[in-house]
């Protein structure tokens, strides 16, 4: 009988640790320590990472963005007190589910846009004005925010949108009608546009 770390492992460990980690998330929330809560959900455009601060939804990330890297960035830019704690994301997960099953056309969620600054944040605040199933060009959005020459900056604001799907940067297209770039890849952008067009 070795006195080694493994010896003190217990057959109940595989159940015990997830239970304790779940309890930690709830306790951290109650104590006001949960600066960033996150979870992941399945969707027709792949696994999405959802993260929220106490203020609101702060990040939606596609698989292709590399969720580990996204969490590292949240830890650096917001707070290292990051835990997988799905409860805070319940409403966001439900509304996204409804959106992907065509039962929801607009999101009604508190948003935290603190990952964006200045002009980018301004653009991202205005994007929800583009209604479900509609599209605008980068130039039209530049006009919408009162800066018609800032077409490239609008492109950057869309490309750095921390809340894709919920803040509908997928509804902004190139002037020639082609989709243009997208944080989730061109396939995801086309999929969202198809989803909304079919409704």
């Amino acid at each position: 009988m070795n006195i080694s770390p493994d010896y003190f492992a217990s057959p109940s460990d595989p159940d015990t640790l997830p239970r304790l980690r779940g309890r930690l998330g709830l306790a951290a929330e109650a104590e006001g320590l949960l600066d960033v809560a996150y979870t992941t959900i399945d969707s027709p455009v792949g696994t999405l990472l959802l993260a929220a601060t106490p203020k609101g939804l702060v990040r939606v990330a596609y698989d292709v963005e590399d969720h580990d890297r996204v969490l590292d960035t949240l830890s650096q830019r917001l707070s290292p007190r990051v835990l997988r704690a799905p409860k805070r994301l319940d409403a966001a997960a439900r509304e996204l589910d409804e959106y992907f099953s065509r039962q929801r056309r607009a999101f009604d969620l508190p948003l935290d846009l603190s990952l964006s600054k200045w002009f980018r944040q301004l653009v991202q605040q205005r994007l929800p004005e583009i209604g479900y199933g509609q599209t605008r060009t980068y130039g039209q959005v530049a006009e919408l925010v009162g800066n018609p020459k800032a077409v490239r900056a609008v492109g950057t604001a869309c490309a750095t949108n921390p809340l894709p799907v919920v803040v509908p940067c997928h509804r902004v297209l190139r002037a020639d009608g082609t989709p243009g770039g997208y944080v989730g890849g061109p396939g995801a952008k086309k999929a969202l546009l198809r989803l909304e067009a079919a409704a």
Binding site: I3, S10, L33, V36, L71, S75, L83
Partner: protein, 163 residues
């Protein structure tokens, strides 16, 4: 760069749970684990990036365990028969109850030294910082602990344990 706290929990949660079990027994281990990680999460933003996270967590767990041990001594368990030596260790799995009894019967310091060295894999210098006293005293406490375990549970060896 400071990694998300979730990764700290994922990397060290299992070790801290085993340490708590050895030091406190199965019954109190889960609450000590929860207290440890909640306190760690509170202090995490101030932890230096290059700190040894495991030693830091074991230090917090040690303090939480001391609180539990003190409370136990103030408030003896309501049992009809007073045991020969204080043990509150439950039996984690069938068949190995004797070793857990033997671990539970060790003096606090020996049990802590055994847990921090053989379960958490900490060096004796780190353990000395946690327990107070010298590195030699920490080494001796672990050695005495193992000797006592062998005496009371003859199957025990330390083969493959960190040196």
């Amino acid at each position: 760069m400071k990694q998300p706290f979730e990764k700290v929990v994922a990397q060290h949660g299992g070790t801290v749970l085993r340490v708590c079990r050895v030091v406190l027994g199965v019954h109190d281990a889960e609450d000590a684990w929860s207290e440890t990680f909640l306190a760690a999460m509170r202090a995490y933003p101030d932890l230096p990036d290059n700190a040894n996270a495991e030693a830091w967590l074991v230090t917090i767990a040690h303090r939480k365990a001391i609180d539990v041990l003190r409370a136990r001594k103030r408030q003896p368990a309501p049992v009809g028969e007073i045991p020969e030596s204080p043990t509150a260790l439950g039996v984690p799995g069938a068949g190995d109850g004797d070793l857990w009894q033997a671990v539970g019967a060790l003096p606090d310091k020996q049990r802590q030294a055994v847990a921090y060295h053989y379960v958490a894999g900490l060096a004796y210098a780190e353990i000395a910082k946690i327990l107070g006293g010298t590195t030699d005293a920490a080494r001796r406490a672990a050695a005495d602990g193992v000797k006592n375990l062998r005496k009371n549970y003859p199957g025990a060896t330390t083969e493959g344990a960190p040196s």
